[in-house]
Amino acid sequence: MEKINIICVDDQREVLSAVSKDLSALSDLFQIEECESADEALELMDELDAEGQHIALVISDHVMPGKTGVELLTEISDDNRFAKTKKILLTGQATHQDTIAAINRARIESYFEKPWKADVLLATARTLITEYIFDQGLDYQPWSEQLDNAVVLSRLH
């Protein structure tokens, strides 16, 4: 079975573990990776990609030392290898300008404000992963129990 990864990026360790805990329902079928900086995330993505694994979703904070979240997600969306990867910006501190950049340049699929609601984040992640699986032309069945059924139905239609 193809391996599908979800990557969470936040420089605050406690927040990072909280995010991945909220997504833990998905951890049986997908691999959840934690990164404390944008560069670490890019390096990990490069590595996973070289192993032929999929990166379905990146959830990133915005204000971080080094590269910001918007810069990270822009780089990902400009990279041919991750053209179909879905992106969520999860932040409490993005300015109006940052938000515009996130939508126009990083082409994020979703924007969450801190503090976030765990169930909404989980549902969004599910939807986006389902879309990724169909965009990528993978067979959805092995993952079907954790996918967003509405998306599955509309894509099969």
Binding site: D11, R13, E14, L16, S17, A18, K21, S27, Q31, E33, E34, C35, E36, E40, L44, V63, M64, P65, G66, Q93
Partner: protein, 440 residues
């Protein structure tokens, strides 16, 4: 030309002894509404004009006349022969006058009396108008000052209000976390005594290794202990280095579960502590406590400021070099306000710097404390440098961004109130504020 004409008039008409008199301080020269056919020149001393409004029964000072100035201009030239204000001498003064019986001197050369006096009239009117304008400006400035002070007070009150509310909430969270931890501890002790150690480890240490370290360690554990991926990762978080003791593997799922619970408690405790300290700082910044305390450590106020600006400083490398300083008599709130303003400005200035760095050095020299705060943001040009301490000067477009910074003018005001000084130096490498405070 104009000066000469004026001089001639003063000499020709206001130099005769019979039209000169002296008045004592406090003496009323003219009464509003009473008969007056004289134009006065103040030769010495000072007088003030008062206007009385009978409807509102208010009296206000409307002008002052000094040496070389005229009064009675209105009644004399408008020929109302009635004084429009009450003139009272402020000091002992010498006055000269002309009245309606005074004849023109050399009318064939200089024209009639009114022609000769035109420069006097115009000059006096212009002077009065100018004075009114200046007064209006002054008033505007005073209002602005008042407004800024009001804004600050409101913001402070708001901050204090929020801080108070938050403090309660954080207090509840923090104390309940402790209670819950305690309860959990007991519960585990009774039901799973063997797992108590894992819970304890989680509470005490939390996750100490970084995500990349965890990944590396997980790979290593995966191989040496034949675990599945998720378990290996969790174990890597719990046991960051060394051998993994045998107890973990008795029931690895359960061990990790308890460790995780402990870790979460650890995180909660940390977060509530963090929140509490921020609330405390905000309260201090905004709260009405301006009281000076005799044994204030300036280094402490710097620490508080840094804590307050933690989110702004997230991407900044902060270097703090404190010296052992003598205690001074000052208000912590005010000093925190000074540092916060300067540091906040530094953060904004370094927004586009690749490796932002903030250096704070404190030292003690010849009865003075010196605090220098420098950043590696772009240089401030000469022109801007001269204006930064002026009120209402800003380089930040887009108006008011809700921040804790309330301007360098306030910083300067506070520093001056302690008898200290503030100076700004800037070049391409760094921009430095140096604040000196006397040790009273």
């Amino acid at each position: 030309m104009h000066q000469q004409q004026l001089q001639r008039i003063k000499e020709t008409y206001f130099s005769t002894a019979e039209r000169t008199r002296t008045v004592k301080a406090g003496e009323t020269v003219l009464q509003q509404g009473e008969y007056n056919d004289c134009l006065f020149l103040v030769k010495k001393g000072r007088l003030s004009g008062f206007l009385h409004n009978p409807e509102s029964n208010l009296t206000a000072k409307v002008f002052e006349v000094h040496e070389g100035a005229f009064f009675g201009v209105h009644s004399y030239f408008a020929k109302t022969w009635e004084s429009s204000t009450t003139i009272i001498a402020d000091s002992d003064s010498e006055l000269a006058w002309v009245n309606k019986t005074t004849q023109a001197v050399e009318p064939n050369v200089y024209g009639s009396l009114s022609e000769q006096f035109t420069p006097v009239v115009v000059h006096e009117l212009a002077q009065r108008q100018m004075r009114t304008g200046l007064q209006a400006l002054e008033k505007e400035r005073a209002l602005q000052k008042l407004h800024a002070a009001e804004q600050m007070t409101t913001l402070g009150q708001l901050a204090a209000g929020i801080a108070h509310e938050l403090n309660n909430a954080v207090g509840v969270l923090s104390s309940k976390t402790e209670t819950l931890a305690e309860a959990l501890w007991q519960l585990v002790d009774e039901s799973h005594p063997e797992a108590n150690g894992f819970l304890e480890l989680g509470v005490a240490v939390g996750q100490s290794s970084s995500s990349s370290e965890v990944r590396k360690r997980a790979k290593q554990l995966l191989e040496s202990y034949k675990l599945d991926r998720d378990t290996a990762k969790q174990l890597a978080k719990a046991v960051p280095e060394g051998e993994v003791s045998r107890e973990w593997f008795n029931d690895i799922e359960q061990s990790l579960h308890f460790w995780e619970m402990g870790r979460d408690l650890h995180d909660m405790r940390l977060a509530s502590k963090h929140a509490a300290s921020i609330v405390r700082s905000v309260k201090q910044l905004g709260g009405g406590d301006q009281a000076k305390q005799p044994d204030l450590d300036v280094n402490d106020t710097i620490h508080k400021s840094l804590a307050l600006l933690q989110s702004n400083l997230r991407r900044v490398n902060v270097v703090l070099r404190p010296a052992v300083l003598p205690k001074i008599n000052a208000s912590a709130t005010e000093l925190v306000q000074v540092w916060v303003n300067i540091i906040k400005n530094a953060c904004d200035a370094m927004e586009h710097v690749a490796e932002p760095q903030l250096e704070i050095v404190t030292s003690y020299y010849k009865n003075r404390l010196v605090v220098s705060i420098s950043n590696n943001g772009p240089a401030i040009d000469e022109q801007t440098r001269r204006k930064v301490f002026q009120p209402n000067f800003t380089t930040k477009k887009g108006g008011l961004s809700f921040g804790l910074g309330l301007g360098l003018s306030i910083v300067q005001r506070i520093v001056h109130s302690y008898g200290g000084s503030i100076a700004l130096k800037s070049d391409a490498e760094k921009t430095k504020f140096r604040i000196k405070l006397p040790i009273a």
